[in-house]
């Protein structure tokens, strides 16, 4: 029976993918590569073919690539029906239908949710509407911001020094534009890498001429008579005049369309099992709804089966491949999604890469190189185990540390390494902020154990 159903699904079933970005595209390709011959529909709220986002805050802002030309290459033909420029607005699990913003409905036999995240907007709507107040998530955002930077602003203010905000600041400095970065924490990148590494990122900003203001929040954006932003008010009572403000306060998961659907979906994403099958709100796993990419949160064996939300490019690809595989195969052939969290950023000419889950780490050891030279490998430890590593311009060593994490290697790191300096002999506190406070740009969110937890109190970032 089950075998018959699967055979029919593979031959003539209907698969709908909501979300036409990286995860959606790679899932579609995997479905076809693994022999799915039925109908395939991709639904995306943006009117564009799947495109790549990482270049938007780097090559695009630097003018080395066009925001309109970052479409992703296709690995193969996918022969899909594209519904672009129309958002999904609802899901009926019983009737197996997705509702669209234009009133249409699309039926499915199996559904993949890959709706990702969006930029968290400035919370005060009136201020957010001021001309010159931007976010950076989509290619349209990037095209607008690029135009603004080209027009020679007197000063740009970036609110939030996560990865995206820091990359924007880096691009501004490279183009000679004065930039102020306002960050609530004590340094940039602390949510993702902790205060010890954040201090290095702060030095990098200061040395490159960024006016970095830490431990401050933005209290108000001030407009002029014709609705253009003209100044930013900070919690230390200072005022910074600026004609461009980039709001870089992290992201929000696109799950509102699932409200009331019965899925275990909320502000922290859509919970799913290790095989990418979505949980319903009762904590029972569904068998025809799958999740992948930034919007998913799933348990990870290496990290105590905590549910991880990973806003990582590589996770989107790997989870999409796993989800697609599992959508069209027998239970015994299904694979768990066990991707090692990994991300990169480049800013101020420095290549930052990480594997594992740094925010789990209480302690940090610089096992190679030196913080002062900004070329190093840092290893994070949690309860006697190595759980993450970060490199600044030392990427070639990272795979060794990835294996250490996979093996649950002991921490502190006892063995000698080449390029060990005196500073790397002892662990130091990694210095992450209180995890109950949301940070922007965390890239990894540890979201507890309960898949359909409805007791969450979500506190939006306040600046």
């Amino acid at each position: 029976m089950v075998a018959d159903y699967l055979e029919r699904l593979r031959r003539e079933g209907r698969i709908v993918i909501v979300g036409a970005s990286l995860a959606g595209l790679r899932a579609a390709e995997t479905l076809r590569a693994e022999g799915f011959a039925g109908s395939l529909t991709l639904i995306g709220d943006e009117p564009y073919e799947p495109y790549d986002r990482p270049p938007l805050s780097k090559a695009v802002l630097l003018g080395r690539a066009s925001a309109r030309h970052t479409e992703l290459p296709h690995r193969r033909e996918i022969d899909a029906k594209w519904r672009l420029g129309v958002a999904a607005t609802g899901l009926d699990l019983t009737a197996k239908r997705v509702r669209l913003a234009d009133g249409d409905e699309v039926e499915y036999d199996r559904l993949l949710i890959a709706t990702g995240v969006r930029a968290r907007p400035w919370p005060k709507e009136e201020e957010a509407r001021l001309d010159g107040v931007c976010v950076l998530r989509t290619r349209d955002d990037a095209a607008r911001l690029y135009q603004r930077l080209r027009s020679g602003p007197r000063r740009v203010v970036v609110i939030g020094a996560g990865f995206a905000g820091s990359e924007v600041a880096s691009a501004c400095r490279e183009k000679g534009i004065p930039v102020t970065v306002a960050e609530r924490a004590g340094a940039p990148l602390v949510g993702a890498l902790g205060g010890a590494i954040g201090a290095v990122a702060a030095d990098l900003q200061l040395e490159n001429g960024v006016d970095l203001r830490t431990r401050v929040t933005v209290t108000a954006l001030e407009g002029d008579a014709i609705g253009r932003v003209r100044a930013v008010h900070l919690s230390d009572e200072s005022v910074v005049e600026a004609d461009v403000v980039v709001v870089s306060l992290g992201s929000q998961r696109n799950t509102e369309w699932l409200t009331g659907s019965g899925l275990g979906a909320g502000p922290r994403g859509v919970a799913c099992d290790a095989g990418c099958r979505a949980f319903d709100f009762r904590g029972i796993v569904t068998d025809d709804v799958f999740v992948a990419g930034d919007v998913a949160r799933s348990p990870h064996a290496l990290f105590g089966y905590q549910f991880l939300s990973l806003e990582h490019w590589g996770n989107a690809v790997a989870q999409a491949e796993t989800a697609a595989h599992n959508m069209i195969c027998h239970g015994a052939d299904r694979r768990p999604h066990l991707w090692m969290p990994a991300f990169w950023s480049s800013q101020f000419g420095v290549n930052i890469k990480s594997v594992g889950v740094p925010p789990m780490g209480e302690q940090l050891m610089i096992t190679q190189g030196s913080l002062a030279e900004r070329r190093f490998v840092g290893v994070y430890g949690h309860q006697g185990r190595t759980v993450a590593a970060v490199t600044f311009d030392n990427a070639r060593w990272l795979e060794f540390y990835q294996r250490q994490i996979e093996q649950g290697a002991p921490f502190p790191v006892e063995f000698p390494t080449v390029d060990r300096r005196p500073e790397g002999r002892q662990p130091v506190p990694a210095d992450f902020p209180d995890p109950s406070l949301p940070t922007h740009g965390p890239t990894v969110t540890l979201s507890g154990y309960s898949p359909a937890d409805r007791q969450l109190v979500f506190t939006p970032a306040r600046h």
Binding site: Y51, D52, P54, P55, K58, A59, L62, R64, A65, S66, H69, T70, E71, L72, P73, H74, R75, R76, W313, G314, V317, A318, E321, A342, F343, W344, S346, F348, G349, V350, N351, K353, D393, A395, R396, L398, E399
Partner: protein, 81 residues
């Protein structure tokens, strides 16, 4: 031609930036910048860069060169680790 680089895999060997300097560039010692849409006259250089990547991190389409239709050298799942 559209292309993307898996920068998780990239270790900054910069073969692409040597062999196709109008498409790929190093930003500092190790970080890679690239234009996701390569111009037609870069076809041959792009093919060299894709093949030379020591970690097979570059995916490009529209390259119908000697390497076959899809110029992706070994995808994530198939390429070992």
């Amino acid at each position: 031609m559209r292309l993307v680089v898996d920068l998780n895999k990239c270790q900054g060997y910069a073969q692409c930036a040597f062999l196709a300097p109008d498409v790929f560039a190093l930003h500092g010692e190790e970080a890679l910048l690239y234009d996701p849409r390569a111009a037609e006259e870069q076809r041959e250089r792009l093919a060299r860069a894709v093949a030379a990547c020591p970690v097979q991190a570059i995916t490009a389409d529209g390259l119908d060169g000697a390497g076959g239709a899809t110029a992706e050298a070994g995808q994530g799942e198939s390429g070992g680790r």
